[in-house]
């Protein structure tokens, strides 16, 4: 079976399981919305002050809700030895990684689709200055975060490392990503001179490439015993 077929197989399996119970997806979406409301209340957002914190309010619910997903997504694989069933099969572990990455991304994408419009609704924000840049940032930024999250979570699970450590590992490694998405979101939301925009997008793409391509090719070696 080709690599692509294997990716699709894993993706199919996970999404079928997730959409059958929907409990993870629902909790992720509800959590993002709830957190959105929570942030609005906490910061008692005034239109003048919002420029400072708007990118954070937009992203925090998405990122934390994604975080919620990493441990739970594909948890069926860790029950009844299903992971062992994969490890003894001839599947390429890179395909396993990529399938999980795409599946996780689908869930996070749904979170974004619900949570970002709500952000604009609550904020009475003017229409974003550059909707193209905003979309690019949302798509690339969440991909990068999901990539590093799935990379570390999958590796941790198959090394029997406690999931408590996963957030402690992800956040420091994701600092460049955070800086890039916050900067780009700020530029996208408010009229700006577009300074350094390309630099940040480049950083984002580079980061995504590193944490997508390297695990895809190395997972087979890393999980091999």
């Amino acid at each position: 079976m080709t690599f692509i077929n294997q990716v699709v197989l894993i993706l199919n399996r996970d999404l079928r399981i997730e959409f059958r119970s929907k409990s993870l997806l629902l909790s992720m979406v509800i959590f993002a919305l709830l957190f959105q409301v929570f942030l609005q209340i906490v910061f008692d957002a005034k239109t003048q002050a919002i420029q400072m914190i708007a990118p954070g309010i937009l992203w925090l619910p998405v990122l934390l809700s994604a975080m919620l997903g990493f441990n739970k997504y594909g948890s069926a694989e860790r029950e009844n030895g299903a992971l062992t069933g994969l490890l003894v099969s001839p599947i390429d572990k890179g395909a396993l990684f990529l399938g999980k990455l795409i599946g996780n991304y689908v869930l996070v994408f749904i979170v974004i689709v619900t949570s970002v419009p709500i952000f604009f609704l609550f904020l009475k924000q003017p229409f974003p200055a550059s909707i193209g840049l905003l979309l690019t940032t949302l798509l690339l930024g969440s991909w990068g975060f999901v990539a590093i999250g799935v990379f570390l979570t999958t590796l941790a699970h198959s090394s029997s490392i406690t999931e408590l450590l996963v957030p402690i590992m992800i956040f420091p490694l994701a600092v460049p990503l955070f800086l890039a998405i916050i900067q780009l979101t700020e530029m996208a939301l408010f009229p700006s001179l577009g300074m350094g925009e390309n630099l940040w997008i480049l950083l984002l793409i580079g980061y995504n490439l590193i944490f997508t391509v390297a695990p895809t090719f190395l997972f087979d070696l890393l999980l091999e015993v």
Binding site: M1, N5, Q6, L9, R13, R16, I17, R20, S21, A76, E77, E79, N80, G81, A82, T84, G85, L86, L87, V88, S89, P90, I91, E224, V225
Partner: protein, 231 residues
């Protein structure tokens, strides 16, 4: 022929397997017998490439790569490898694709063999323990493996299912599928295999053909070990 040469395995710094030498010819069925904790499951894990031995060599049949060896291998472990929120059919479809092409007739065929065809669209979570075990056996046989690792496959089966599985194994034996059978029912294992291997504290301490004359001396040895351990 699959060959283990001088395998040593440590788990959490505990020496679980001691210089194991084992030859497993194609189509040969081996009964792996030993008390609890003898290292039987660990030996199967080495053969299934789930753990890497700390020293020693695995020689795969006709110099296959690890990936190709995995394709030939079918595995029944105490864990079922099943996804409980999927149906029996979906489970088998997933595992069939994992090993190659989809073939619906083959899925139906194995489901009929393990007498689960009538409940194939039901979620595995609703199955009883024995049904899950039977489905796990179906999953292992789905891709027509040439080598089978069976770790207590009779566990949880009622006498009728045991009989079914027994017949399946005898059939496969005739068709040239080899298996290593771990079972605490030594008499049954004896019946189903060509050769028996006795393990004790991570070592192979006796081997013999499964002949009628050979049974009692072999089992006597086994009983002694179990007694010695519990005293």
């Amino acid at each position: 022929m699959m060959e283990l040469q001088n395998i040593n395995l440590f788990m959490n710094d505990k020496n679980v397997l001691h210089s194991i030498n084992l030859q497993w010819r194609k189509g040969e069925s081996i009964a792996l017998i030993g008390a609890n904790g003898a290292g039987k499951s660990s030996l199967l894990k080495v053969l299934g490439t789930l753990v890497k031995p700390n020293s020693g060599k695995l020689k795969y049949p006709s110099d296959l790569s690890v990936k190709e060896w995995k394709k030939l291998l079918g595995i029944v472990f105490p864990e079922t490898f099943l996804y409980h929120s999927l149906t029996a059919y979906e489970n088998l479809r997933f595992y069939q694709k994992l090993y190659g092409k989809i073939n619906k007739d083959r899925i139906d065929e194995v489901l009929k063999q393990v007498k689960l065809f009538h409940v194939k669209q039901e979620i595995v979570d609703t199955y009883s323990k024995g049904m899950k075990q039977r489905l796990s056996i179906a999953r292992a046989l789905l891709h027509n493996p040439t080598y089978l690792l069976l770790d207590e496959p009779f566990d949880g089966l009622d006498s009728e299912s045991k009989e079914i599985l027994k017949n399946m194994l005898l059939q496969m034996r005739q068709k040239g599928t080899g298996y290593i059978l771990v079972s605490h029912d030594s008499e049954q294992a004896w019946e189903l295999c060509d050769r028996a291997v006795l393990m004790h504290e991570g070592r192979i301490i006796a081997e013999g053909k499964c002949t009628n004359q050979g049974y009692f001396p072999f089992i006597k040895r086994y009983r002694e070990i179990v007694k010695e351990k519990s005293s």
